[in-house]
Symmetry: C2
Subunit: 479 residues, 2 copies
Amino acid sequence: MADKKMVEQITSMDVDFAQWYTDICKKADLIDYSSVKGCMIIRPYGYAIWENIQKILDTRFKELGHENVYMPMFIPESLLQKEKDHVAGFAPEVAWITHGGSEPLAERMCVRPTSETLFCEHYANIIHSYRDLPKLYNQWCSVVRWEKTTRPFLRSREFLWQEGHTMHATAEEAVAETVQMLNVYADFHEQDLAIPVIRGKKTPSDKFAGAEDTYAIEALMHDGKALQAGTSHYFGDGFARAFDITYTDKENKVCYPHQTSWGVTTRMIGGIIMTHGDDNGLVLPPAVAPVQVVIIPVQQHKEGVLAKAAEIADALKAAGLRVKVDDSDNSPGWKFAEYEMKGVPVRLEVGPRDIENNSCVLVTRHNREKTFHSLDNIAAAVADKLEEVRRGIYEKALANREKRTYICKTMDEIIAKLEANGDGLVKAMWCGEEACEDEVKEKTGVGSRCIPLTEEKLSDVCVCCGKPAKHMVVWGKAY
Amino acid sequence: MADKKMVEQITSMDVDFAQWYTDICKKADLIDYSSVKGCMIIRPYGYAIWENIQKILDTRFKELGHENVYMPMFIPESLLQKEKDHVAGFAPEVAWITHGGSEPLAERMCVRPTSETLFCEHYANIIHSYRDLPKLYNQWCSVVRWEKTTRPFLRSREFLWQEGHTMHATAEEAVAETVQMLNVYADFHEQDLAIPVIRGKKTPSDKFAGAEDTYAIEALMHDGKALQAGTSHYFGDGFARAFDITYTDKENKVCYPHQTSWGVTTRMIGGIIMTHGDDNGLVLPPAVAPVQVVIIPVQQHKEGVLAKAAEIADALKAAGLRVKVDDSDNSPGWKFAEYEMKGVPVRLEVGPRDIENNSCVLVTRHNREKTFHSLDNIAAAVADKLEEVRRGIYEKALANREKRTYICKTMDEIIAKLEANGDGLVKAMWCGEEACEDEVKEKTGVGSRCIPLTEEKLSDVCVCCGKPAKHMVVWGKAY
């Protein structure tokens, strides 16, 4: 199988997980590098995954009443400085524009790292009365944060995302929106991306710059490291006060509205790779796979084979599936390896003998299971297989997380379990003091990821200081 | 009708067309301004028009085999400088990033004004053999050009667009792609936006920086000024040579591929406003209208009215139409004016008496024609009305263009016709010399817009110098 090797030029994940990740990004044609340091080119196959993600999420946002807008990509320095925590959080990592053409600017501007300040300035213009609330806006765009160390999808200087920004009459309504959007993200991950997540609140030290509360979903990657996969922030009325956004309520009283923001990014593609991928390449969740089923004609030069492949493709497309027929002159072996590398969930093989039997072979990517199927009602059989892949990869990811979740009551236990079983999530109680958070991280290597919304009480005392515990925290090493 | 006036606060187009345009942009809730000078906020109603434009065009591009990608938004100065005509054209109008966080950059970068250089660098990496061709890539993104004078949609420092970049084995194939995409733009304008356009080639002085040929579609606005509504460029192999992009052909010979690029922008929304709008506000082509039909319940407090409005809305939605019911407590008169301002193509009024008669009233926005219709099969009646609006506004725009097109054989004739009839398109012969182009512009005020692909021969000699003519040129004042 010389041509099989031609495709499979990736490092084994057990040998070097980081190199395996980079290999997949490159060899599955997801990204390329350019002379723009720290940024990536998202190639057609990678961008098609993002387009599928966008379609699903955008539909859900709109069903919940959100509207899309577009704000300028620049933020004047004085505008960025209006909310003090916000500017302190972002100013050190923005890209600064100082010249337009050959003229120096009167005031320098940064490329947006996030757009709270722009939305707030606009809201101050358009919100006057309780009738103007709620405002449920979302924006799809790219943002820039001047990261020192970068990795494709996970941390790059420019990335694509959506940022929801909403304004509400009451704190209760805004908190409900914050939690609602966290749940949208969690459902999307679990149902569509087949990635199990923990819904939680960040500890105060880890909140978004300017937020009262930051909620996040945390996923565990194959190597035992945690990935923050989406965040939803409740701002209270802090930005409204800084930007002088007010509305008149029904009793004619002037009030500050309450605000949220929430976002997910191209980082999710990194999460898909590291949750589902294996040593043969990418494994894509069917909901976002650019090609859900690839048809490989076997002995395609024989009469009737290509025609049958095309006929099957038409039947699958008519059922709404994303299908590709590979009738190139590469060998079937090369093609098998190529589409395994690219993570196509289902492969359909059809050759002369299959056609005689009115049947075909279906192979599911995640477990390479081969089954034979009648060509009658083949679309339903493929749809079943896609659902099988979705469930299969979800369960595999969940099993990995369960195997790598360690309940610990002492610092020594944390160290011992990580040492014995490898990286993973630690569940341990915490007193609420930042000093203990820091000490846990310093001594054991795992930092606080979140306080799960469904808390378990593991003991009465903080794993670090032994004082009364306030919360159960999930700890982990983060990407 | 006091509340009607509340809505209709726009300048008449005959009094001040520029102010009328700005009024519509603001009062129809398309845009807002911010502290970012020269940039605009695209509000939900304006952005929904852009989303509809994107959906239609993106589908067409993909049907023709194009794939979407995403390139970095930054271009290092040295990369911008690789093609000498290109850098000369763009360097004076780019925004420069000089600092990342608090560190000065080793090399400054500009925000992309267009992405030829990035695509070329990538193509040099991924094109090696004739098997890698053609490459048919497209990108949806925002770009920045540091304009001195700005107007919403028409000319802003940041705008949204798509840029197609393709690579082909032969010059013939690349030219065919250039013309194909010009035709896609022209069809989209004529069929979907209901804007008649002239398909033409730019004169050499007006070509895109680095192109061998620039094709464009030109539309005539209501006030007699021309708008370049889309461009498609043939590059030959100039960029390929500058960026060292080569491929090996079937005979194993190393060759340079041939390139195209093509783009349309949010400027098209400006074209829609200035082609179809009137003194009552915006008039939207049904294909891109965020709301195609608005249902206004009359005497909505009476029993059964709101229920019937909702029932009609459901029937229209089931037929795939974009529908809104306005059951707010504003008066019907206020609502009529509001949705006229917003350019909703069809208004459906239904009140107690209509319900008794199993009927409703349909009003088409562009001519305010009122007709009565049975509620049986109302979706088909509304669809007919939408098609009536599309045809009606197209014909109105075409009539305006015909009325304002002046065939001229002498300079005096140009001056006299523009003087007598107002701004418009001049058709006149040209010798091919840039000096004559300049002289026509200087003496008559109209510049060359394009050489139409279907040329008419009006005379044998140049309108300016009297020497033998090479082409018929369409001249006009441009936005």
